[in-house]
């Protein structure tokens, strides 16, 4: 193995890591290297995307696996034991050096380290922790570290990981424990949830003051996230959102990432091979956002998604509005914030600006023109000082044309 050149290892182990959607470097603690001996800083607000790959995705962290050798056989994963992909393994020192070298050239905000499971969960986690520990303690690295937590590792290792990392994540993988059992036979939904629970407890504890009144050590200050693969099993969008809701509530997750199942080289027979359902993924993110920032409940979103599937042509907020026409038009000069947030085409930031403006003057259509991407889209749903829609439906025809879904002809 020592014969594999470093550059080739980098190629293999970043290729193996690209199916993890997260690359965020946001929301951690604020740090600077000014009072230290090493390098690195983090902002407490938004992260930095240092590049964008041609899939439009942000490259913020050096996202790699320590190794893509894996004893598990998860059907959806390119690194499963039964796949014939090239294998490699970094040493701890190699990852540390690569992180520092990339960081100093301003290519990255830090490291997102994951790994195939080798030997055992504990052994694998120990290796991941060793990289983070070396970066933090030997090199006084103050950039961002996102560590993957291997479900089933011991609580002590989870605690150690939380002390070095800005963010921890355990992937839930699939929307239901039943399909997880079928597609990832060695993984256990219980282990995954228990690991998430351990992270939540660690974060909660770190926010409590210690007995002496001193602040407890920081534990995964940027919280935890997870990823769910969309389209590898028969779960509906309603199933997926139910699962997300349960995870946000139970473990205080910062984010659930939805990852459209993507064809992989050397694919398993157990799964459909087709182009990734990117629009479905997009709609799930929108629905997730509506639940977390717009005051929609899951049942409200699900009620506008017959068969449990979100409409692919129209966004979930518009679908809800169309299903609840009696709530419109909304008078933007009078309505409460909660109702303004429900107007299709008006984002949360625009709503807050609008509330600021209407304290000073009456809102007219020209004001909305400056606030929304398309005032035409808003018109059927709003009343302004100089506008009142006629029969709501007449303009709706333009905004939301009835959709005839194209049907793929069968060959047989």
């Amino acid at each position: 193995m020592a014969s594999i050149p470093l550059r080739r290892k980098l190629e293999i182990l970043s290729d193996a890591a690209k199916y993890d959607a997260s690359c965020a470097s946001s929301g951690g603690a604020k740090r600077s290297s000014k009072d230290g001996r090493g390098i690195g800083s983090t902002d407490s607000g938004m992260g930095v995307c240092h590049a964008f790959t041609p899939d439009g995705r942000c490259v913020s962290l050096l996202k790699i696996l320590l190794t893509n050798f894996c004893v598990f056989d998860c059907a959806y994963c390119v690194n499963r034991v039964s796949s014939n992909v090239a294998r490699a393994r970094f040493s701890v020192e190699e990852v540390v050096q690569l992180t520092l070298d990339f960081y100093k050239r301003n290519y990255i905000e830090g490291l997102f380290l994951s790994s195939g499971v080798i030997r055992s969960a504990d052994f694998t986690q120990e290796e991941l922790n060793r990289v983070a520990k070396t970066l933090r303690e030997v090199h006084d690295f103050r950039g961002y570290i996102h560590l993957k937590l291997v479900a089933g590792c011991s609580p002590e290792l989870a605690v150690a990981a939380g002390l070095y990392a800005d963010r921890l994540s355990v992937n839930i993988e699939l929307p239901s424990d039943d399909t997880l059992k079928r597609l990832a036979p060695e993984k256990s939904g219980e282990d995954i949830k228990r690991a998430m629970g351990a992270v939540r407890l660690g974060i909660d504890d770190s926010k409590d003051q210690t007995h002496t009144g001193r602040k407890a050590a920081k534990f995964s200050p940027a919280g935890q996230s997870t990823q769910m693969i969309v389209g590898a099993d028969a779960c509906t969008d309603a199933d997926i959102l139910t699962r997300s809701e349960s995870l946000y509530g139970g473990y205080g997750l910062k984010r659930v990432y939805y990852s459209a199942f993507s064809p992989i080289p050397d694919a398993s027979q157990a799964l459909p091979l087709s182009r990734p359902p990117l629009m479905r993924e997009h709609r799930l993110y929108q629905a997730d956002w509506l639940m977390r920032y717009y005051g929609f409940s899951r049942t409200e979103i699900a009620s506008a998604a017959p068969d449990g599937m979100l409409d692919l042509e129209r966004d979930p907020k518009l679908m809800w509005a169309l299903a609840n026409r009696d709530r419109f038009p909304v008078d933007v000069n009078r309505a409460e914030r909660e109702m303004l947030l429900r107007i299709p085409g008006l984002g949360a930031r625009s709503v807050d600006t609008l509330i600021g403006v209407r304290r000073v003057k009456a809102i007219r259509l020209e004001d909305l023109q400056r606030l929304a991407r398309s005032v035409k889209r808003l018109q059927p749903f709003v009343i302004t000082a100089d506008w009142r829609p006629g029969a709501v439906d007449e303009r709706l025809a333009e905004v939301a044309p009835p959709v005839v879904k194209p049907v793929q002809l069968s060959l047989f």
Partner: protein, 477 residues
């Protein structure tokens, strides 16, 4: 006409003083020409008059903050726009809140573009190492050549100072250069010929960039939206983009078309999953087995949204068994019963009643946490009769193993499970007679009932009563 000459493109202080004088002298915005440095147009106006003594006005903080951002914009019209806003504020003191006003919107857009430009500098600037890495005497030094979209170098360099405080670096740009060697200094701009030579790490970076890209998700438009083309020429990885985009479709098709691979027989043997028995009909032989087998329980659906099954806790031969309703949020996360707020109250009552912990085995009628998600929290939900019935198998198993002399049911759900019928806690409270298996049954309230009482007086009274109940049950042994 009046002319104002600012010392530099980012001379906010100069602008502020001039604007102040102009407004105090009631000079309308169209009467003023704004110039920077030694620009042409020497004869186009007079100096603004000095302010009359003892006069002044204040501008809203929101305006000052906006102006400090806008001044860094490249658009020469920014000085005039800012003065026009300041002018209008006299008659329209709330103008800054009107984000939909044309001038306010224009200024806010400029500030946004300035912020974006600064952010892009933090993101897309690339350093190259210029010292000799093998020379032990050399100080690690990095140099970048960057072309910012607005005048943001002085403001943006702080980010790198925090990041690379213990290294040396220079950022070269056409207008100004910033240098850090423990202290920050600036020098005049240079041209692109001064850019440092390529760094050996750049090839590694390109390998990473190409490998982390998933061709099945290609979306070049989205990429260009986030990473405008104007920055590409100074980014080492950008030269790969055209080929990555043009080959993406073919690579994806190839993956879709390729037949699924068949793993070797050796791998298939190794990967065959070990069969895990689910909810075995055989009763576990000891409490450790109960705890393990509980994790595979599928007797009802509550396991789906719970973290884990929570088994009972306490000595395997305890004479006293307490049965609660179900685990709560904390119990679910930690996998231990009676550790949340109600559990702590229960422990206090036990101590007060003089019941030693060694004498008590505590468990729940339902072993998984039933709840409703509410945003970032989980709200307790009462288990229904079917769930209690399904879970009774576990309680019976625990009872058979522990063989307590007295079983105390805490609350109605526990009562249903222990006595096999619905009970009225307030009416039937106290000794209940013998239950299945020969133990003596006892019924009292659930400690969470005490937590829910509204006033302190009834809280204290009920707590005392609860303690009495526990003492009475203990005395039954």
């Amino acid at each position: 006409m009046y002319a104002v000459r600012l010392a530099s493109e980012i001379d906010f202080e100069g602008w502020r003083q001039a604007a102040r004088r102009l407004r105090l002298a009631d000079i309308e915005p169209p009467q003023v020409v704004w110039r920077v440095g030694e620009e042409a147009g020497l004869f186009d106006g007079a100096e603004p008059p000095p302010p009359p003594p003892d006069t002044g006005f204040s501008a809203p903080r929101a305006f000052v903050e906006l102006a400090q951002g806008v001044i860094l914009h490249r658009d020469p019209a920014r000085f005039e726009l800012l003065y026009r806003l300041l002018w209008r504020l006299k008659a329209e003191p709330e103008l800054m809140a009107v984000a939909t006003d044309a001038d306010v919107a224009a200024a806010q857009l400029m500030r946004k573009q300035v912020r974006d430009a600064e952010h892009k500098m933090h993101a897309f600037l690339r350093f190259r190492r210029v010292d000799e890495p093998d020379d032990p005497e050399a100080v690690e030094t990095y140099v970048a050549w960057f072309e910012p979209a607005h005048h943001i170098v002085e403001r943006g360099v702080d980010f790198f100072v925090h990041r690379m405080a213990n290294l040396r670096f220079s950022i070269l740009t056409p207008e100004v250069c910033a240098h850090w060697n423990g202290t920050l200094s600036f020098s005049p701009g240079v041209d692109g010929s001064q850019a440092p030579p390529e760094d050996a790490l750049e090839e590694d970076w390109r390998v990473y960039f190409a490998s982390i890209f998933n061709p099945a998700r290609v979306n070049a438009e989205l990429m260009a939206q986030h990473m405008p083309r104007r920055y590409w020429k100074n980014m080492p990885e950008a030269r790969l983009i055209p080929e990555l985009v043009s080959r993406a479709k073919g690579r994806t098709e190839a993956m879709v078309q390729a037949p699924p691979t068949v793993p070797s027989a050796r791998v298939r043997r190794k990967a065959a999953p070990a069969e895990v028995p689910v909810a075995p009909g055989d009763a576990p032989a000891d409490l450790t087995q109960v705890a393990a087998a509980l994790q595979a329980c599928r007797r009802c659906d509550l396991w789906r949204d719970a973290t884990q099954g929570v088994p009972g806790e306490g000595p395997g031969d305890a004479p006293l068994m307490f049965v609660g309703e179900q685990p709560g949020d904390m119990e679910d996360l930690k996998g231990r019963p009676f550790i949340g707020p109600a559990g702590q109250l229960f422990n206090r009552a036990l101590a007060e009643a003089g019941v030693p912990r060694e004498a008590a085995y505590v468990t729940n009628a339902v072993k998984h946490f039933k709840h409703e998600p509410r945003g970032k929290r989980r709200i307790h939900a009462k288990p229904n009769a079917g769930e209690v019935k399904a879970c009774r198998w576990w309680l019976e198993t625990e009872r058979t193993l522990v063989k307590p002399k007295v079983i105390v049911a805490l609350g109605a759900t526990a009562g249903l499970s222990v006595f096999g019928r619905s009970v009225a806690v307030t009416r039937e409270r106290g000794v209940m007679g013998e239950v299945e298996g020969g133990a003596l049954g006892f019924l009292t309230v659930h400690p969470s009932f005490l937590l829910r009482l509204p006033d302190e007086a009834s809280k204290a009274a009920e707590f005392e009563r609860f303690v009495r109940d526990l003492g009475e049950a203990y005395a039954l042994m």
